[in-house]
Symmetry: C2
């Protein structure tokens, strides 16, 4: 299915809707994927959307509903009857229902909770108690549980009986009478075993699990390291309370990567897509950081003011300030982004700080010397000889190039160590990335520049 | 399983190895997860590693092998017999074997190819022909195929018979006699249907598929949009040639995100983890971009040189250069990173360029005016009155603040439009992110600064 195909399909659907050929429209929608139906609904006007949504069967409706953004969910909730709403809520997987409740306005939540059955209401309430960053907030209670004394035939029969309402049937969890997690068995293992084999003999007792209070980011590496389709979640007492499935983890991965990109670009993360954000929201997410960084940058300006005399005596020095600042900033970004990403993938740990700094020091020296050598030649050959700029003396070139080596070295060391220290102290390393390091390195490199100039040029 | 637990396990295993308690070591390793065994092997000396690897059963050995980095795979290949190597190759899933062949040195590849069975050799050769960026390079040929005239009972029997060697049995593909893809059915649907139901009646004919030559990054959004566990891959003639499973897509997601982070920080991406990269490699990945950006920054320097007279006349102007450059750079990064990420997630398309620029223009104006207002007050109140810096006149504050508004506005517009144009022209938008935009915005903002200064201060 290409994007172009979808555009043609949407056009056809529009025409059916315009011409009121409801039966045919209904038939096509029922056969389409829920994500594609949701995408189609999003393109309609509010009343049209509610009308088309009500054409869907209860099952399809719930699936499509889970794929809509919160604005559209709210519109639909406000335009359907209590009975219809109750049907949707019962059909939704618990994690989708909880997601929705976290975003909806309070009066809509009240209506939903009033309509839900007492069982669903209780479960939603329980799941709403997990903080947004936690594993608890993305887990679902709909898993298949087996007992270790069952045989394969009985287990498969149980899966066929209860499987319809479970988010996955491919990984089954073996629990004791008091709901403690004893083992895990995949449907694949069940199907490939003999019918009368007992679960206890085929289950894996070394279960990879997580707990409700863990950071949800931490399950990403469990899935990528162990190639799982689902991971069980236990509470403080070791009792199985839910599972996290791979489709939800893929969403978390994309969210967390987006958040890291935003933090590294000095933006307060938002969990809604760019095209849905208003101008004021975008401004609110960006302005505090711009302001903070602007104020920090004025300190760099103060350093320049302090050396006004030196600059007045050797005006040529001024022209190299942007190059030194930018190169320092870029060198620092390279190290900090590498380290922040390594920390998040688990490739780098705080214990590695020594070897990381030693490596970055050597990379920094090598890079600094290469850049300085090229710059030295460029200043004397291009600037002085070719462009005839007689202000550029060998001494000035020496000052600029010595500063370049120190700046790159300092930038690499600050860039790699600050995010690691931030992580150790419990701060988010991503926030410590590029812009802040650029500001720090800017100030340090100017201090070096003017100190070197003082010593060599005696200004 | 926490990290701390793993350290204790490793220590125990070391002790067993040191004390030559081979039987016990063997038993524990056989019961461990393949990823954890691979992590343990990586910590051993080369000879020890080969010795411990040879203790594993053929099946376990192959699984562990697939989880090792290419350096360790090479060491092991070089220390085992032809018969052992042949066993491992036949046990490996095709995509893991192909991954390995792409990385190993030519002489080792030759040995592996000589030992493999002719069937495996042919398949590996075929798969090696797909370029590294393509879906073909990550697919596997080991899927379950069914025919539409089979019933559920027959299908389940077939899955139980051939399932052992297939990478997944949870999604099955219905093919015609000439291997054309006719439908897809999940094991869940099979199990929940009646035994005598015919596949044709339960299969989904609206299959979401991809082709061998697509960019592998494109399957990420298929998985995240449609919550799939596997996606079928067809060739130019529409014949089913393989599948891509969700575990491989998770790896692609992490790789692609890491590559985007690296490109945005002006680093040539590398597919190996940081701790495995040598100083020279790190230098090689970073220096070309630093050099390019350093040379571009000298143009910014030339702008300053051109306005030396103006700066000499109004020395106070100099102190605000870092603040203007940094704020411009940060504003541009915010927009470019947001747009690059939006493009990669499919939230933003080229067709949106008009509305994105209109939005960024308003955010830019709002941000620029807020920053300028605060800066104006700060310059006159703090710098002039509190710090008694009499160089700061209302006129100078006006020049700085007008430049600030223009700089932020320009930065936002350049930051959002360049990545979109790059994507449209077939370049990678991530490369067009922060550092390049910073360099462009630096130059533009200084031009504005000095032009405004000329007009207002008549310098």
């Amino acid at each position: 299915m290409e994007n172009k195909d979808m555009e043609i399909v949407h056009k056809e659907l529009f025409e059916l809707l315009e011409n009121r050929r409801i039966k045919q429209l209904q038939q096509i929608l029922e056969g389409m994927n829920e994500f594609d139906v949701a995408a189609f609904l999003t393109e309609l006007k509010p009343q049209q959307m509610a009308m088309v949504f009500r054409m869907l069967s209860k099952e399809k409706g719930a699936e499509v509903f889970a794929n809509l953004e919160v604005e559209e969910q709210e519109q639909i909730i406000n335009s359907i009857t209590d009975a219809e709403l109750a049907g949707i809520i019962e059909e939704l997987y618990l994690d989708d229902a909880v997601d929705m409740m976290e975003e909806l306005p309070a009066n809509v939540v009240k209506r939903v909770m009033r309509i839900a059955t007492s069982e669903t209401r209780e479960l939603i309430n329980q799941f709403l108690r997990y903080p947004e960053y936690s594993v608890g907030s993305i887990m679902t209670a709909e898993y298949v549980d087996l007992k270790k004394y069952m045989n394969v035939l009985e287990s498969i029969a149980r899966i066929r009986r209860i499987g319809k309402d479970r988010e996955t049937i491919y990984t089954c969890y073996v629990t004791s009478a008091d709901r403690r997690l004893e083992g895990v068995v995949t449907l694949r293992e069940l199907l490939l075993a003999d019918d009368d084999e007992v679960i206890e003999n085929i289950m894996d007792t070394k279960v990879i699990y997580t707990t409700t209070t863990e950071d949800k980011e931490s399950v990403i590496n469990l899935f990528s390291d162990y190639d799982l389709l689902a991971v069980p979640v236990v509470d403080k007492e070791g009792r199985l309370v839910g599972i996290v499935t791979v489709d939800d983890v893929i969403d978390v991965m994309q969210q967390e990567a987006t958040e890291d990109f935003e933090k590294m670009a000095a933006i307060t993360p938002s969990d809604r897509p760019y095209m849905k954000l208003g101008v004021l929201e975008l401004w609110r997410n960006r302005i505090p950081w711009l302001l903070l960084l602007m104020i920090s940058a004025t300190f760099t300006g103060m350093i320049i003011s302090n050396f006004e005399d030196a600059l007045a005596a050797q005006a040529a020095l001024m022209a190299f300030i942007p190059m030194l600042m930018d190169t320092g900033g870029n060198s620092g970004s390279q190290s900090s982004v590498t380290v922040v990403r390594g920390l998040s993938l688990g490739d780098i740990k705080f214990a590695d700080i020594g070897s990381v700094m030693w490596k970055e020091m050597r990379v920094g020296l090598l890079s600094g010397i290469s850049l300085a050598a090229i710059n030295f030649i460029k200043m004397l050959l291009v600037d002085r000889v070719l462009l005839g700029n007689s202000d550029i003396s060998v001494m000035i070139a020496a000052v600029v190039c010595l500063t370049l080596v120190s700046t790159v070295l300092i930038a690499k060391l600050v860039g790699c160590s600050l995010p690691m220290l931030a992580e150790k102290l419990g701060f988010d390393p991503a926030v410590m990335a590029s812009p802040f390091i650029t500001t720090i390195v800017d100030a340090l490199s100017l201090c070096v520049y003017f100190s070197v100039a003082r010593v060599i040029l005696k200004v």
